[in-house]
Subunit: 355 residues, 2 copies
Amino acid sequence: MKKRIVRIKDIAERAETSKGTVDRVLHNRGRVSEEVREKVLKIIEEMNYEPNFLAQSLKTQRTYQFIALVPDPKTDPYWEAPEIGLAKAEKELRQYGISISRFIFDPHDEESFISRAREATAENPDGLLVAPLFYKEVLPFFKEWENSNIPYVLFNTQIADVNPLCYIGQDSYQSGFLAAKILTFGLPSACTMMVLHINEDLPNSAHLITKEKGFKDYFVKNNLTDKYRVIETEINFVQGESFDEKFGQIISSAGDLKAIYVTNSRAFEIAGYLERNQIKDIKLIGYDLVPRNIHYINNGYIDFVINQNPLGQGYWGIFQLANYLVFKKEIAPIKFLPLDIITLENLEYYLDPEQ
Amino acid sequence: MKKRIVRIKDIAERAETSKGTVDRVLHNRGRVSEEVREKVLKIIEEMNYEPNFLAQSLKTQRTYQFIALVPDPKTDPYWEAPEIGLAKAEKELRQYGISISRFIFDPHDEESFISRAREATAENPDGLLVAPLFYKEVLPFFKEWENSNIPYVLFNTQIADVNPLCYIGQDSYQSGFLAAKILTFGLPSACTMMVLHINEDLPNSAHLITKEKGFKDYFVKNNLTDKYRVIETEINFVQGESFDEKFGQIISSAGDLKAIYVTNSRAFEIAGYLERNQIKDIKLIGYDLVPRNIHYINNGYIDFVINQNPLGQGYWGIFQLANYLVFKKEIAPIKFLPLDIITLENLEYYLDPEQ
DNA sequence: AAATAATATGTGTTCGTGCACATTGTAGGA
DNA sequence: TCCTACAATGTGCACGAACACATATTATTT
């Protein structure tokens, strides 16, 4: 069952022509009579020719510059993970001539995003990976990139009605829906649950609203609105201010509160509060394996987190660009990463970055 | 920041010698004076030479034959998934000269395993991927493979005190532990839980015993033995026999039964029973996304499954062989795949085989 | 000292592809 | 009829590594 590799030379022989001509047919370089062209195409089909990727890549020595337009990891530990994924992809893809430049912006500063995006565009890269945190600000760049035919991959934040090469991330709606399911599973009796947005600029964060909607819809779709009361709260945690006092008031006015669903990776703020006040009968669910969340999973104040796999988002984002540009694969426009449910007992298996 | 690729020729120039000599140093082919050898090695180090994998692979045209010694998918749908993973790895690795032969055995017949393993060994492959279901029978083959220096990767069933290239699969103990956690989370009140082994030859299935131990230990370690009663049952489901009657008796004699933990992928047998008898207050947790389990997750009779990611096991198994033999990477001796918790609300994201 | 053996080092071809360049073929204009 | 223009086709080199083979250098024997 030894599969003989079909080479350009083999095709040329069968077609009674030379490898130059076959090459011209393969790459549509013209200067081939229609008659020969068809004959060669037919034989290519028949012999099931597949270009030898190794030889191709060795010969052309083509290099690809990708740019990752991502938030500064120093501002929020969440953004450390995509960088790890980027680095992993970079390492694996270097031998194919792919290099990745980072253009780092401040996730709380639109202006910094705009100037970094300008710089990135000026570099005229072969592909872009973008965390499009600022909806309004990023739109004109999409246009620009489309005009210059630069494929761009979006991750973390899904944006409707644009045409990226693909989106990589989670289904925000469904992740809210899942959070509701888990909490309901653990709280068979009627109670109050809270959706909590911490330190977020909500009008600019459509995906958080989508999570909240998914969470609330779970109760509607399962006819549980009479049993559970869902309240929504926003809170800003400012260093130095008395968070505990502020949040204590919120809790005491919330009635029979038994569960809190934090829509971003800052569940550790609440876990800290619960620990300081020795509150053990409020279930807490949040997002992401950032170090402080891991700490509170380990000591039991966070019950579950949903892993958004930010590492995988960075990794797959770059890989999709490579798949498209280098390996010429078809790319599905959306790659939803799984909604991993993580709790103390399966935590450690998600910490291995090798995965 | 353009990284100039370092070639053998570059090293030869810097060392004032020829590429032939550098090549001899690189491959320890001898016939090089100690003096030159050291100089070349030093320069290789200095210039940070990394062989161009593409050129290497193109030139050598080395082919690798891997053999997958796996159970017949026709006997149990669980075994369909590793085959999909194998096929995926095969496709990605074909261009590196890797081919995979399947040696399929009957998972209920030791003899068929032995004869397939004999045949596989006789082929003298470059690497083996084995599901070592039969502990006693597989041991002598490990010896043989080690003597012939054939690396072998184990998956699905972990075996102690042998030296595979690596093991790929789950931590059975921890998965039982996790199952107990989930059920306890959903059942805050005291009740009885059942560990159920369906159609299994227990003495030959150490990993199922390990799961059971993990499950039971959860209650011990969390001081819950007074609250929850855990019972253990084995049942064989034979086509045609009245399963419902047999199982009905088991249930009714079990007292306040509120949860069943099925240790293999056959939770669907119980789900079917629960559906036929319209029992809705028994939580059911099992393993794996086989089609019939998916069916019962969708209609609510299975609450959770833990995904053993059999597809990933096949995929990674082959990839580890390739990483070791072809890409010369270091291989960690154990690769535990995550304990994915799957329920209706996040099911679909685990069904995409592309992941 | 010359012949031979043994060791050390250098050169050239090959893998499959892409592309530059060389060659052949043919039609049309002088 | 010869020359030119241009389309059609063929040839050869390069990419980086591996290996066979050729050549140079030194050591050993006669």
